[in-house]
């Protein structure tokens, strides 16, 4: 159990800026290509080497997605990163339990901020010797000048009060001496690791929302996935960072394609537990299966409409795998596709709810199509050859992540297409087979399945393809879906 409360600081009232504060001079620009060694050259040579270095960057760009302004902006990664100093918050007593929980808290906070994609964490070796615990103790000059060159500073302390862990935390703009703290908040947790992790995630969320243009952080979200680590494939859930992995089903059958309801209280998935592949709706509040109609044939790939009122799914009840929609209470069944081929993997436009993308092999190979949610106005989204599969619609409705493969080479990689313009960005580059991408609710992160470690495992990355992290390590794990 944990909770948090805003606290007042010496500076009243608490002023929360809605945009990032003073920005540093943008690193890069035209001077980016001119290095000291280049300055010794003639202007002609300098120009040539500049052209060549740009050429080389394009040719050997090790950071996919960079340089695509439209894309970086669309996934909320287009802003200049804030230089943020995050010294370890000190425990206020030598109580062994508090010391240990504070270590956990500090590590989780650091990891969350590092993976946020919106801040540059200042290396701890550059910090001034004196670590402040209150805004009054901040040496603004020491933190804002070399070598730290920080813009913002997280400070505070942890104490043990009435058998609870209480963390008091501030976010301070160190370039504006005397300015009020951007964040001043007290976080209270029970004295256990999970609660300490939770309040660290909560503080990270608050910081990310302040420094990341108001987009809420994802540090308290969860990921549902399929794992066969206990034998049969079952539905599992973990925290967004891979911690706290726990099974949801125990059917000793085949369960797959888990999908979070928009309120995060339910999971829809495919289960073979009754013999036939059926759509199951499982309540995470009551830990029970909820009533939902069964149909003959294959029933799989459920998808919640953004208002939670409808579920689109694939069923072969009519003799062929087609897309249907149905009210979540089981009424109002409606067939949306009519093509005597495979039609599967529907996903709603999460922004409008009035379009559905899905996979069909009506052209000969699996490809991604978009239609209105009543089945009209059908169009093909990906016009390349190969196999295009597993669409995931970005939260802002602008992009579709998908996996695209070439049979001849056996490769599968994750791509994102700008739905309006057709521009494509490749996010993974042949490190194993990379499939089933799914967006995080912040639109900045994507979870996917990859075999790059030698096994089929769940990975997450920034939505520009950077900073891939392995989240699962036991058995085979696949088909992840991010909570809302």
């Amino acid at each position: 159990m944990w909770s948090s409360t805003l606290i007042s600081t010496a500076h009243e009232p608490l002023n929360v800026p809605s945009v990032p504060l003073a920005r540093p001079p943008r690193p890069g620009g035209k001077s980016r290509g001119v290095s000291p060694s280049v300055r010794a050259m003639s202007s002609h040579q300098r120009w040539l080497s500049f052209v060549l270095s740009v050429f080389a960057v394009v040719l050997f760009n090790p950071r996919p997605g960079l340089g695509q302004g439209w894309f970086e902006t669309g996934i909320n990664l287009g802003q200049t990163k804030v230089r943020l100093a995050v010294p370890d918050l000190p425990p206020q007593s030598v109580n062994q339990q508090l010391v240990s929980l504070t270590q956990t808290f500090n590590k989780v906070l650091w990891d969350d901020l590092e993976f946020s994609g919106i801040v540059d964490l200042v290396s701890k070796s550059y910090y001034p010797l004196k670590i402040p615990q209150t805004p009054q103790q901040v040496d603004f000059k020491a933190w804002s000048s070399s070598p730290a060159n920080a813009q913002m500073l997280v400070l505070g302390s942890a104490e043990s009060v009435n058998n609870q862990m209480v963390v008091t935390a501030y976010l301070q703009d160190v370039r504006s001496p005397g300015s009020p703290a951007a964040l001043a908040k007290r976080y209270v947790a029970d004295l256990n690791t999970e609660s300490a992790r939770a309040i660290a995630h909560h503080l990270a969320n608050d910081i990310i929302q302040l420094l990341g243009g108001g987009v809420p952080g994802i540090n308290l979200t969860r990921i549902a996935f399929v794992s066969n680590r206990t034998g049969a494939p079952e539905i599992w859930v973990m925290d967004y960072d891979g911690h706290n992995q726990r099974p949801i089903t125990n059917y000793h059958s085949l369960c797959t394609t888990p999908r979070w309801s928009p309120d995060d209280h339910k999971l829809a998935f495919t289960s073979y537990a009754g013999g036939n592949p059926e759509i199951y709706i499982f309540s995470l509040l009551s830990n029970r299966r909820l009533p939902f109609p069964t149909f003959r044939g294959l029933n799989t790939t459920p998808a919640w409409s953004p208002d939670g009122k409808k579920i689109a799914f694939c069923s072969s009840m009519g003799g062929n795998p087609e897309i249907y929609s149905i009210n979540a209470d089981g009424s109002g069944l409606e067939q949306l596709t009519f093509a005597p081929k495979v039609n599967i993997s529907p996903v709603w436009n999460p922004k409008t709810g009035n379009e559905i993308a899905f996979v069909s092999d009506r052209s000969g190979t699996p490809q991604i199509y978009i239609m209105a949610s009543d089945g009209t106005n059908l169009r093909r989204l990906i016009t390349y050859g190969g196999d295009a599969n597993a669409p995931s619609w970005s939260p802002n409705g602008l992009f579709m992540a998908y996996s695209w493969g070439v049979v001849e080479t056996g490769t599968y990689d994750v791509y994102v297409i700008n739905i309006a313009t057709g521009q494509i960005v490749q996010l993974t580059h042949g490190e194993g087979r990379n499939t089933h991408p799914a967006w995080a609710p912040d639109g900045r992160h994507i979870v996917f399945t990859s075999t790059r470690s030698g096994h089929r495992e769940i990975w997450s990355m920034l939505a520009n393809g950077q900073d891939a992290r392995q989240l699962t390590f036991r058995g085979s794990n696949w088909n992840a879906n991010w909570s809302k």
């Binding site: 690193p27 890069g28 980016r32 290509g33 001119v34 290095s35 060694s37 280049v38 080497s49 052209v51 060549l52 270095s53 050429f55 080389a56 960057v57 394009v58 040719l59 050997f60 990163k81 540059d120 494939p233 085949l254 797959t256 394609t257 495919t270 073979y272 013999g275 036939n276 592949p277 294959l298 799989t300 790939t301 694939c314 072969s316 003799g319 062929n320 795998p321 495979v342 039609n343 599967i344 993997s345 996979v359 092999d361 000969g364 699996p366 390349y384 050859g385 196999d387 599969n389 597993a390 996996s403 695209w404 493969g405 049979v407 056996g410 599968y412 494509i424 499939t435 089933h436 088909n479």
Partner: protein, 253 residues
Amino acid sequence: MQSHQRRLIILTAILGLTVLGTTSCHKKAVPPPATPPPPATAASPTGSLTAEPSTIQAGQSATLTWTSENATNLDLEPSVGKVQPQGSTTVSPQQSTTYTLTLKGPGGENTDEARVTVTTAPPAPTAEAAPPVTEEELFEQSVKDAFFDYNRANIRPDAQAALTEDAQFFKAHPSLNFTIEGHCDERGTEEYNLGLGQRRADAAKNFLVNLGVSASRISTISYGKDRPFCTEQTRACWQENRRAHFVFGSETH
């Protein structure tokens, strides 16, 4: 971060200069994600591989015959190896085997496949009275699976032959109910393969129904790529997994 970027720029500038110094600097474009293979200047190798008969009993042999054009290097696997541009050979596989002929030439690479299905030999007559054979044992001995091409659910000629024999068996055992499982190889994504497996199972069912087997006796279920028969990453293994598999009794409700 800044110094990191600067280091990258220096490195790439040096790299760029090296490229200029050692080549005539043809303009290279970044390959788009879906570039089709460049057109070959030489004619690409073609060929065909057939097995006669395509179904044998264990211990019998079949003849593999092949022809080719524009191929300089031919490899017939498994167990045969390098072969001449035209020819034939006999094989005696102990179990059903898909033979792959790989053709390489100046114009590229091509393959063709032929499958030899091996059925269990009828038990040799013995002096002792054989125990009565159950319908399920007969089913296991007689019913053949149907195999498919990648991304396809249409019944190809070898599957037509297998299913035609299966239909005769099912009509001779009219009280027997059975399930057709649709399976796929590991390429492609899990979800699409669930749909494709269903279409394969239903295609096999429809073929049998057209030959007079009652639809009410047949259940179908798709396992996509989730329950493979073979887990190696080879063409032969992938072919093993692209099938409609017959199971005695009804699996579904």
